[in-house]
């Protein structure tokens, strides 16, 4: 059985590497920080990027190994440990972590090593501190709940409430003393904190990102059929293994600490630490089903459905990488190669709307040429005075539009101002008011 797990694991990794090669997704910002340290040419950029990706993959596999050992200690059941590890490995979140976010990979390795080697509460506290450090220092997040400790923000929220209610024509008479029991900065601080807390138990992000009602920008953590396994696994743990239930509860608490200090735009990465431990519940569910002889058909059905889940989701990753991944690298992945095709030596005016243009320039050239200007431009406000190559969003050529509402006449206007070399439509709206189309145009 153990060999079967390894075979499945190997195929999962191989599939992910294959997807990564096909997708040719540009580097993320955090990958650039490493690559740009050493790169000198475009070739070395890609070699370095892939080296980093493979190193990150190794890091994640190491993390998985430590995780497996930790689970063996915790559950005293190697099958649960293997299955839970495969659940993590099969997850698109695992793929995106090694493919795009090396810092999370390093964090997971450190956290799991601590949990494995440092016993009980001490280990948990250390991981909490690591989580806080990682989020505040490395990721430079600004947790929303910090607002709760800002007296002036809270006071202004209370004031706004009073003013809003005072603007009602037919006032509702409520004694001021009664309102003041809760309309005060202390209660509003409490409100801010608890509203952050309530976002943590999020079944949609944990299990339903494949069909999320808001199509939120977030990697799939677990496939939706795994929810049913998690419910069953949860019931089994609560009935039969109080020790494991307590331990998992503590680990999820640490996951919660990670969550509240994170402000990552991707909901799944806010749940990154919890992801590891939720898989145990699913693993227990799967192993419990397999342990009953009369449930073997259900077990086979479960395995078949999970296989399809992996298949459909990996296929979707290939077909819609711009749906799942950040569109900013994709924008630069279009702009810089397109600019390179222009046979005209002049200053290149690059958009400044989505940030880090200079870093991407270095990636695509090895050494960023001096003729790049990263101050941005807005032809609608300041008509083109200078000849050059302009690369940016349609709104920077045609003027901003509410709700990104650009049409054919806007494109015609651009064509009358510059010679359009290329237009590309992004899936996401990453530069609000400036449209989803990115344009490379030449003015001579």
């Amino acid at each position: 059985m153990r060999y079967l797990y390894f075979v499945i694991g190997f195929f999962l990794v191989a599939s992910q590497v294959f997807i990564a090669i096909i997708n040719r997704y540009p580097p993320t910002i955090e990958q650039l920080l490493f690559v740009n340290l050493l790169t000198k040419t475009i070739t070395t950029s890609w070699i370095l990027l892939w080296t980093l990706r493979l190193l990150t993959l190794v890091t994640m596999i190491l993390s998985l190994r430590i995780y497996f050992l930790l689970l063996c200690k915790l559950t005293k059941n190697r099958d649960v440990a293997y299955v839970s590890s495969l659940i993590i490995l099969a997850s698109p979140l695992f793929f995106s972590t090694w493919y795009l976010y090396p810092t999370y990979a390093v964090f997971s390795l450190l956290a799991l090593v601590i949990l494995f080697f440092v016993a009980n509460k001490k280990g948990l506290i250390m991981v909490c501190i690591l989580s806080i450090f990682f989020n505040l220092v490395i990721k430079q997040s600004h947790p929303k709940f910090f607002e709760a400790f800002n007296a002036s923000v809270m006071t202004s929220q209370v004031t706004d409430r009073f003013q809003n209610e005072d603007s009602i024509t037919e006032k509702i008479a409520i004694p001021l003393w009664f309102k003041r029991l809760s309309y005060n900065k202390y209660y509003f601080s409490y409100k801010t904190i608890i509203n952050e807390v309530l976002q943590f138990p999020d079944l949609e992000t944990w299990f339903f990102d494949e069909v999320h009602p808001l199509s939120q920008k977030s990697m799939v953590m677990f496939y939706w059929p795994e929810l049913l396994l998690a419910v069953y696994g949860g019931a089994v743990i609560l009935r039969n293994n109080q020790f494991l239930a307590k331990k998992l509860g503590m680990y999820l608490l640490v996951g919660f600490v990670f969550f509240v200090f994170s402000n990552d735009l991707q909901a799944s990465y806010r749940q990154f630490l919890s992801w590891w431990f939720l898989s145990v519940v699913i693993g227990v569910g799967i192993v419990s089903i397999s342990s009953y002889a009369f449930m073997k058909y259900i077990y086979s059905l479960v395995m078949a459905i999970l296989f399809l889940s992996v298949l459909f989701n990996y296929y979707d990753l290939v077909k819609r990488q711009d749906f799942w991944f950040d569109n900013r690298p994709i924008a630069y992945g279009y702009l810089f190669p397109t600019i390179k095709t222009v046979n005209y030596k002049s200053t290149v005016y690059m958009t400044s709307l989505i940030g880090h243009a200079a870093e991407y320039c270095k990636f695509y050239y090895g050494v960023c040429p001096a003729y790049y200007n990263f101050d941005g431009f807005n032809i609608s406000k300041k008509p083109l005075a200078r000849n050059g190559i302009y690369a940016g969003f349609i709104g920077e050529f045609a003027g901003t539009r509410m709700e990104n509402n650009f049409n054919d006449s806007d494109i015609k206007m651009i064509i009358s101002n510059v010679k359009v070399v290329g237009i590309y439509k992004l899936r996401d709206s990453i530069a609000y008011l400036y449209g989803e189309n990115i344009v490379v145009g030449v003015k001579k």
């Binding site: 009602i168 509702i172 608890i194």
Partner: protein, 536 residues
């Protein structure tokens, strides 16, 4: 003891009623179109014995071609008769439903919690202050009435199972379920599922329980026979046609990755997700989806349960998971949730509180179970102090939020401004004018004019045959009396004489006055201009 119980129940009812009834005519600031439809049809039934389409004592109200169950309007008739057609009379049934449900909670909690009755009173008070309880009891919602009956039916069924006898419990349970079915669509699926699961519970399945289950289902079927008979198949399914998941999300997989077979995978995921969304704490206590935000269901600052109760619900879920196999009462609660969320599995909204209102009482009970667990294990001696310290500001915030803040937050959109303030004036001007031109951005705006003018139903019923047919969606406005729907265009229309205009568009006052028009500005709930009436 019985006197204490009766007194206590009376105090609870009175307190709940007061919180739900206070300022009911001002908060929410005006009726929404569904409320207006329910109220106007109640008025029409009172005056003529027919609904607005001229159908005699119907079991469903055609209304906006959505065939609302009619029971809410029937119950509203006495209030409309006593108080006239207005917000108060239209909402009274909801107010009373919410108040009575609090009593049912008391008896429900007694089944699950041991301990002093002081604690159960406190828990009942907490349940009565849930944001959804306050909000849905202050607006005319058929689902709120249905939820009351469903809860009564479920609790009586629980008592029947607990006592292992007591046919009287079963009789009234069936009656309550039937009333629930006649009150709202969701119960038509929820009740049979619930009854089936209770009597065909796999852990206690026996020939006796099967026989009983079949018998109960038979009586339910008999009870809904008039409903089935009175409604044509296409109209029964009309609501389902409008709202089903299959129509809205086809082909279920994304365009780029659709390979045919994966459609069923994603469809199954959506259906499971729809049901699971009612167990997702973030939805129960925090997240407000945009389709909820733009609807009468929206509770500013909250989702459905209170914030703290949402955390206790999680503990309650764990307790349920642990006891599911051994405790039949816990299983019945779970079946209640399944039945309550079943309609949502096949409708397109991911989380739609109105359609799943029947399961909200159970979530409340789970929250109380979680809270009780914490109190019993850690804070038994000081729980009263802790709870009051929490409940006082919490109660203050929820009541103020619902009564006052939500008026500001929710004005506009489905609670459009102007109709309440201007309809009476429009009515008096209409009596002297040749034609009244209506131009409103509000869909189905005619219902507000009918409602706020108490327009004679006898006159409206004559238009039944020219109104938009069943199956037509979108704006169903129609011309009636001397009211004509037409887009407002003053430069083209200013020469007409002896006319009145109602428009929600921006107008140039000077231009109108110059051409001899008289302007009356109509403000909304926050004193902003919502519409103008122009007399020429």
């Amino acid at each position: 003891m019985k006197i204490k119980l009766t007194l206590g129940l009376l105090v609870l009812i009175v307190l709940s009623f007061l919180v739900r009834f206070y300022a009911i005519s001002k908060s929410p600031p005006s009726v929404n179109f569904d409320e207006a439809a329910l109220g106007y049809n109640a008025y029409s039934l009172l005056k003529t014995g027919k609904d607005e389409y001229g159908r005699s004592w119907p079991l469903s109200l055609r209304s906006f071609n959505d065939f609302k169950p009619a029971l809410y309007s029937y119950f509203s008739i006495p209030f409309v008769s006593w108080f006239g057609l207005n917000e108060t009379s239209t909402r009274m049934v909801s107010v009373i439903s919410g108040s009575l449900r609090v009593i049912v909670y008391f008896f429900l909690l007694r089944l699950f919690l041991k301990g002093e009755s002081k604690k159960i009173w406190l828990y009942t008070l907490i349940l009565s202050l849930q944001p959804w309880e306050l909000h849905f009891s202050r607006t005319a919602f058929e689902s709120n009435l249905s939820c009351l009956f469903f809860t009564i039916g479920a609790v009586l069924l629980l008592y029947y199972k607990e006592k292992k006898s007591g046919g009287i419990y079963l009789f009234f349970s069936i009656l309550a379920f039937l009333l629930s079915i006649y009150s709202y669509h969701s119960a038509r699926l929820g009740v049979p599922i619930f009854v089936f699961l209770v009597f065909f519970d796999p852990f206690t399945l026996s020939l006796k329980s099967i026989k009983k289950g079949v018998w109960v289902l038979f009586w339910l079927l008999l009870g809904v026979a008039p409903l089935l008979y009175s409604t044509r198949t296409d109209t029964i399914l009309e609501r389902f046609n409008q709202e089903n998941i299959f129509k809205h999300y086809y082909p279920f997989a994304s365009k780029e990755s659709d390979i045919g077979i994966n459609r069923y995978y994603y469809l199954a995921g959506m259906m499971v997700g729809h049901v699971a969304s009612y167990f997702s704490p973030i939805n129960i206590g925090y997240e407000v989806y945009h389709w909820v935000r733009l609807s009468p269901q929206y509770i500013p600052s909250f989702s459905m349960l209170g914030w703290e109760e949402t955390i206790f619900v999680i503990i309650g879920f764990f307790m349920v998971l642990r006891k599911f196999r051994d405790d039949y009462k816990i299983r019945i609660l779970v079946y209640w949730i399944i039945a309550g969320s079943a309609p949502s599995a096949v409708t397109w909204n991911w989380f739609h509180p109105l359609r799943a209102l029947n399961l909200m009482p159970v979530l409340g009970v789970f929250a109380i179970m979680g809270l009780d667990y914490i109190i019993e294990t850690r804070y038994k001696k000081i729980y009263l102090f802790l709870v009051l310290v929490w409940l006082i500001p919490t109660g203050s915030f929820r009541v103020t939020n619902e009564l006052s803040y939500s008026v500001w937050k929710n004005h506009g959109e489905y609670q459009p401004g102007g109709f309440k303030q201007g309809a009476a004036l429009l009515g008096s001007l209409a009596n002297e004018a040749k034609t009244v031109y209506l131009d409103s951005s509000q869909a189905q705006s005619y219902i507000f004019f009918l409602f706020y003018q108490s327009y004679p139903p006898v006159l409206i019923q004559k238009y039944a045959s020219v109104r938009p047919a069943v199956g037509v969606e979108g704006d169903l406005s129609f011309n009636f009396g001397n009211y004509v729907y037409r887009k407002f265009d003053w430069p083209a229309q200013h020469n007409e004489e002896n006319v009145v205009y109602w428009t929600s568009r921006e107008v140039k006052d000077d231009e109108i006055k110059k051409s001899g028009g008289m302007i009356f500005s109509v403000a909304n709930a926050v004193s902003k201009r919502a519409a103008v009436i122009i007399k020429k």
